[in-house]
């Protein structure tokens, strides 16, 4: 349709984007990334992409800044710009229409670890580079010493699989077979990996076609103007919120249990925030030196963790773009666990990110009214490898199990739920038992595992297994030695734990990260996941709520008395509060606390 006014209007578009156009373009961009995402989930080959949906899609401007992202994995907000920047660095003016690039290098790009391969395609309007479409998806295996490429005992990234710097995967819309052959030769599951990469490419190309339609409709200048405006608004939103917080300097620290190699040595994650006016700076220099094992993470992930926490604190439903990243600054000391020197290993990044997010929350919540929360359980996976019940073929039983969330001002923590940036589903028991030689014998929430507080932490999960055939067992967990912190006077949650053959003579406790324990048929194991920390003084918790927790089996009668000073007496089949005894007990506990408090 002819729109004669449009071109005249674009002359001033850079300064005055039509607010209606902006909202329409924004809704369309959201639709495009959603469509790319659906296409990827639909056509991706591996169960990782389709079931766990460990993949995300984004649109970038010509500078590699994310202008639209479908939020499945919050951490990729940092990875997309870093991967695109690497493509621009490597190919610069040589980038042409019909190119496609792949990259998975944590140091020469922004991949969290080698299995996360990014596919980036340039988008041209007329003869000029206009932007990029991108997708990142976790691959089932990209080589290295262990299946899945994530060894808890890796000592350098050369133990973590094949690393691709930015390389050209397609030219003039035609695949260059050499990159595929190279990747295929380095993976234990080449069909799955190549199938997924092609699925990603399809999603990117779809994004290009939809962008082309959008530019055709609104004109190049108008869309560029909208891109800039969306970035500006994200930045302004962050800065505006920051400006309303009180000025000051605050710090917080958290510890990762260990790095997988030095098992007795917790890894310190520390942040100092400096807030003045609308400026917010995160300084992570006090964090531990880089670790020997794979607890290290690269700065794009650090930046993403900061962005994750800020979105949480400012507005969980805000539009996600790179403009967010302009709303703050950060320092990650070179040679530290948050900015390791090449070639330090980086594959098991989750424990470090959880500690980082928890530390940022703890520091920032000093200045954000009403948004503090206690820490949650983090995340963990168990892996059993052996032979399939039906086919006799090798199998990998991979389960991700959540725990308790931290308590919040005014609300108890949620039980048995994913926390922070982690969000995988739990596998159904009936499916696991049908496919793998194992029987689950217990699945319940753990009473008394939620940290005590005026608002109680969420409960952790207990899973018990009876192994029906020999298998190799690995675990990548966290918060087993160091429990989730409480907040504002709340107590820590219960730490996690992993026991082989509990309550038997041969009982054995495993470390938090452990690879390849040989389980025998008839062996049992028990995984307890951490409970969330509590919020506020437990003695301030309404006695009625303590009673309700006891009636619901969330809390034992003993813990009610010990942690909360609430004395219960039997009343019929249930319990009732002994008001006088409770008052006395609470007064006594308060006095004891006042006496022991440092002056």
């Amino acid at each position: 349709m002819e729109e004669p006014d449009r071109d005249a209007g674009t002359l001033i578009a850079m300064h005055a984007i039509d607010p209606v156009d902006l909202e329409v373009v924004k809704a369309s961009l959201s639709g495009i990334v959603q469509e790319m995402q659906n296409s990827l989930f639909r056509t991706g080959f591996s169960t990782i992409v389709r079931e766990s949906q460990d993949a995300s899609c984004a649109l970038m401007n010509a500078r590699g800044e994310v202008v639209a992202q479908h939020v499945v994995l919050p951490l990729h907000i940092g990875a997309f710009p870093a991967c695109t920047a690497a493509v621009i660095d490597a190919f610069g003016g040589g980038i042409a229409r019909g190119d496609a690039f792949v990259i998975n290098h944590p140091y020469q790009g922004g991949s969290p670890h080698a299995p996360d391969i990014a596919v980036i395609t340039p988008f041209f309007v007329d003869a000029a580079l206009f932007g990029f479409c991108g997708s990142i998806a976790h691959k089932s295996d990209i080589g290295g010493p262990v299946p899945g490429s994530c060894s808890g005992q890796a000592r350098e990234i050369f133990n973590e699989g094949l690393h691709l710097p930015a390389v050209r995967y397609e030219m003039d819309y035609r695949r260059k077979g050499d990159i595929e052959r190279l990747i295929g030769a380095n993976s234990r599951t080449p069909e799955l990996v190549l199938g997924d990469i092609r699925g990603q490419l399809g999603a990117d190309r779809l994004g290009e076609r939809r962008l082309d339609e959008l530019v055709g409709k609104f004109g190049k200048q108008e869309i560029l103007g909208c891109f800039d405006r969306l970035l500006e608004i994200s930045e302004a939103k962050v800065k505006q919120a920051i400006a309303e917080w009180k000025d000051g300097r605050f710090e917080a620290e958290r510890f990762v249990d260990d790095d997988g190699i030095e098992l007795e040595r917790p890894v310190r994650i520390q942040v100092v925030i400096e807030k003045r006016g609308d400026a917010l700076h995160f300084d992570f220099s006090g964090s531990a030196d880089q670790t020997k094992g794979p607890a290290n993470i690269r700065p794009p992930l650090v930046q993403a963790a900061c962005a994750y926490a800020l979105i949480s604190l400012i507005d969980p439903s805000m539009y996600v773009s790179s403009g967010l990243l302009r709303g703050f600054t950060m320092t990650a000391r070179e040679g530290s666990v948050l900015n390791p020197r090449f070639p330090a290993p980086v594959n098991t990044y989750n424990p470090t990110i959880h500690a980082l997010v928890d530390a940022i929350f703890a520091a920032v919540s000093h200045i954000v009214p009403g948004k503090a929360r206690a820490d949650g359980s983090g995340s963990r996976s168990i892996i059993l490898g052996g032979r399939n019940t039906y086919t006799g073929k090798g199998y990998v039983q991979y389960e991700i199990i959540a725990g308790g969330a931290g308590a919040r001002p005014g609300k108890d923590g949620a039980s048995g739920i994913t926390v922070n940036q982690s969000n995988a589903k739990i596998a159904p028991i009936e499916i696991i038992e049908s496919e793998f030689p194992t029987r689950i014998t217990r699945f319940e929430l753990i009473a008394d595992s939620g940290g005590a507080g005026e608002f109680r932490g969420g409960l952790g999960i207990r899973r018990e297994y009876l192994n029906l055939a020999d298998a190799r067992f690995s675990i990548r967990s966290m918060k087993h030695s160091i429990p989730p912190n409480g907040c504002a006077g709340g107590k820590t949650g219960r730490a996690g734990d992993i026991w082989i053959n509990p309550e038997r003579a041969a009982a054995r406790r495993l470390p938090t990260r452990y690879a390849d324990y040989p389980l025998r048929a008839g062996d049992t194991f028990r995984l307890d996941t951490p409970g969330g920390g509590g919020y506020g003084d437990p003695l301030a918790r309404e006695a009625e709520h303590v009673l309700a927790d006891v009636c619901e089996g969330v809390l034992s009668k003993e813990a009610a008395e010990h942690d909360y000073g609430v004395i219960l007496r039997p009343a019929g089949r249930a319990w009732a509060i002994d008001a006088a005894a409770t008052q006395a007990r609470r007064a006594q506990l308060k006095a004891e606390k006042a006496k022991s408090a440092p002056r």
Binding site: P19, V20, G31, R42, T47, K237, K425, P428, E433
Partner: protein
């Protein structure tokens, strides 16, 4: 004596009635205010009115009802006090659910909580028993311990009990024995068994679905019994009394009372069903139904004459896994509110002004500008044409709201602001349509947009144009279209049974045996519903997957017993369906059967929608005047027609506005409208 089919679709604000005189084919419609405290009051009032106005002795030979009684009880937490019995050691299944948070804001929202369980842990009992994945008993049922547990629930006065034991779909005997014991100990108590509600693998979905059924069953069965009693009192004696289900089929009163959970997502089902049948009537196999009301917009895709089903759904964050029409809902309706935030971003929705206070132009105290206010300012709605003139809209209030909340803060003209707000809501609805069509590989050029609901025909023209669709159909009675769907559905009962096994290790006899058992169950239930053998159809299907995948693809099976060669064809059929649904297949990978499905259909005598002959009336006779209407930045003089006065065969170019009792249709410049013999309005884009 006149024989009627009567249907009632109860909504939050209005109850819609449709009566079809089976001899004359005459259709009459009515809208009465709903009576949410006791929905059957409005129903009885409507039927009495209908009988009175018919003016002759009438017989209602068919009654079908779309109800939100179950849905509302769930949304408001007003179900029965319910107990839950699970296998010993597995209390965690229900509270943990899938453990993950929904995508989007919830991942960032520290304050996010899963919906509170419908049954607390204190009313959850454990049953000492265990069955393995082959259906073998590993631990026998301890009846003495169970009796003790049930007595504790009895002492808590539960009115209903849900039972979900591990692998009960392979070994229903334990579930069944639990029911006997519950009945002995608590004689008045309803019992929902997971092996009956949903005998399907994946314990959490089976449990959650069973719990919802148990929670609602006493409420819904009481409501249905009470309605039945009152219907008989006003003379509706037929056995053909039905309730609409989420799968787009009906259930008899008795069956719906037993399976309350099948009704909870039935709200939009009537409209989709009506769209399917109307499409079939006029020879259109591919349509998108577009039902836009006051707060939300439901869109569904119909391909090759059949609506798509999904096997899982959610209501208020609660999971259920029953076959239901695959409907995409977006927060976009006449009451959707526009605001400007402090960064100058214009936002439309998801907040809605609802029925109270409603849009500013209703004059009931609403101050925020809504879509209805914008449609009024743009001239699409007239001040006096709303609800057939029964409700006066106040344009001054609409203008004031848009001016103060959007136009002035953004520095826009009033009318530009109104047009911009409508453009934004239209884009949101377009994206919802893309999500069920182009995002799944369908080409929208092959689809007509079937627009109904109070606001659908106002917006359909532009959306059709923007999406490049084939055209728009507006049925004769768009405001009560869901109730019309209730006139012409069939009875549908779905059955499922999970038995996971590699396809290569399953003998055809085994498959046939399972299907035969399920078929016998379907036949028995439909005979019990009163269907003669020649009115019964049974369909079979298998849910299959590549070994180890987390989802299944439904593959239809022949109704006859399978032979060994058929299994090979099923395998190839599965690969093909996987290819068309997901873009690829893996013919070398092993395939598993996960579940067997049987669908029993009780076919009702079909009805024809009334056809009309041209009366020879001129288009000008239907014209009621004209007004200034804004289209794409330009204000045009636009004729206003009274829809029911436009003759069959009329054919005219836009712009035009068509007004009728409860709906207004906009035909845009560049579009052409014609009226077919059923008085559907067919709008096509001139390209």
């Amino acid at each position: 004596m006149a024989r009627y089919r009567v249907t009632v679709d109860t909504g939050g604000t209005f109850s819609d009635f449709v009566a079809l005189n089976e001899e004359t084919g005459k259709l009459s419609i009515a809208k009465l205010p709903s009576t949410p405290d006791d929905p059957s009051r409005a129903i009885i009032a409507g039927i009495e009115e209908l009988i009175a106005t018919a003016g002759e002795s009438t017989e209602i030979g068919y009654f079908c009802h779309g109800t939100t009684v179950g849905t509302n009880a769930l949304l408001e937490g007003k179900g029965a006090k319910t107990g839950l019995l699970v296998t010993e050691g597995f209390r965690g299944i229900y509270p943990v659910g899938e453990q993950a948070r929904p995508y989007g804001a919830a991942i960032f929202d520290v304050m996010y909580d899963k919906p509170a369980p419908l049954i607390p842990q204190s009313l959850t009992g454990e049953v000492k028993e265990r069955v393995d994945f082959r259906g073998n008993v590993v631990q026998a049922l301890d009846e003495a311990a169970l009796r003790k547990t049930v007595r504790l629930l009895a002492a808590e006065n539960v009115g209903s009990v849900a039972v979900c034991l591990l692998f009960s779909f392979l070994h229903p005997a334990h579930d069944a024995r639990v029911r006997e014991i519950v009945r002995e100990e608590i004689p008045e108590c309803d019992v929902s068994l997971s092996c009956e509600v949903l005998p399907q693998i994946r314990e959490y979905y089976r449990l959650s679905t069973t719990v919802i059924n148990a929670y609602l069953q006493p409420i819904l069965s009481h409501y249905i019994a009470e309605l039945d009693r009152r219907l008989e009192r006003v003379g509706v004696a037929t056995r053909q009394k039905y309730i609409m289900q989420s799968n787009g089929g009906m259930a008899t009163f008795a069956a719906a009372a037993r399976r309350a959970v099948t009704t909870v997502l039935s709200g939009p089902a009537g409209g989709v069903t009506a769209g399917v049948l109307a499409g079939r009537m006029i020879g259109l196999a591919n349509i998108i139904t577009f039902d836009m009301g006051g707060t939300s917009c439901d869109v569904a895709l119909v391909k090759d004459g059949g609506p798509l089903l999904s096997s899982r759904g959610q209501i208020a964050g609660r999971d259920l896994a029953l076959p239901m029409l695959d409907i995409n809902t977006v927060s976009a309706g006449g009451g959707t509110i526009a605001t400007v935030d402090r960064f100058g971003m214009l936002q439309v929705g998801p907040a809605s002004a609802g029925a109270v206070p409603g849009p500013a132009c209703y004059g009931r105290g609403g101050e925020m500008p809504t879509i209805t206010d914008c449609n009024l300012v743009l001239g699409y709605l007239g001040e006096d044409g709303f609800l057939g003139g029964r409700m006066h809209l106040q344009a001054s209030k609409a203008r004031a709201a848009i001016m103060s909340k959007v136009a002035r803060p953004l520095g826009l003209d009033l009318i530009d602001a109104a047009e911009g707000i409508v453009r934004i809501i239209d884009v949101k609805m377009q994206e919802a349509i893309k999500a069920i069509s182009t995002m799944r590989g369908h080409d929208l050029r092959d689809f007509m947009l079937f627009a109904f609901g109070g606001a659908g025909p106002l917006h359909a023209g532009r959306i059709c144009d923007e999406l490049g669709m084939a055209g728009v159909i507006v049925p004769l009675y768009p405001g009560v279209f869901s109730a019309i769907g209730l006139l012409m559905s069939d009875v549908k009962h779905g059955y499922i049974r999970s038995k996971l096994a590699p396809l290569t290790e399953v003998a055809p006899e085994e498959v046939n045996h399972i299907f035969d058992q399920m078929t016998a169950q379907a036949l028995a239930e439909l005979r019990g519903d009163g269907f003669a053998p020649d009115r019964i159809r049974v369909e079979r299907g298998l849910d299959m997957r590549y070994a180890g995948q987390g989802y299944e693809v439904a593959v239809p099976c022949p109704a006859e017993p399978l032979r060994p060669s058929d299994l090979k064809e099923l395998r190839m059929g599965f690969d093909q369906r996987h290819l068309s649904a997901f873009g690829h297949m893996a013919p070398e990978e092993p395939v598993e059967i996960v579940s067997y499905r049987v669908r029993g259909l009780g076919l009702l005598p079909s009805i024809e929608m009334p056809k009309f002959s041209p009366t020879g009336a001129a288009l000008a006779d239907a014209r009621r005047g004209s007004r200034r209407v804004r289209f794409d930045g330009a204000e045009l003089d636009c004729p206003i027609y009274q829809r029911d006065q436009i003759d069959v065969g009329a054919n005219f170019a836009g712009p035009a506005i068509l007004e009728q009792l409860d709906c207004t249709t906009v035909v845009r410049p560049g579009q052409n409208a014609r009226v077919d013999e059923w008085k559907n309005l067919i709008v096509t884009q001139e390209r």
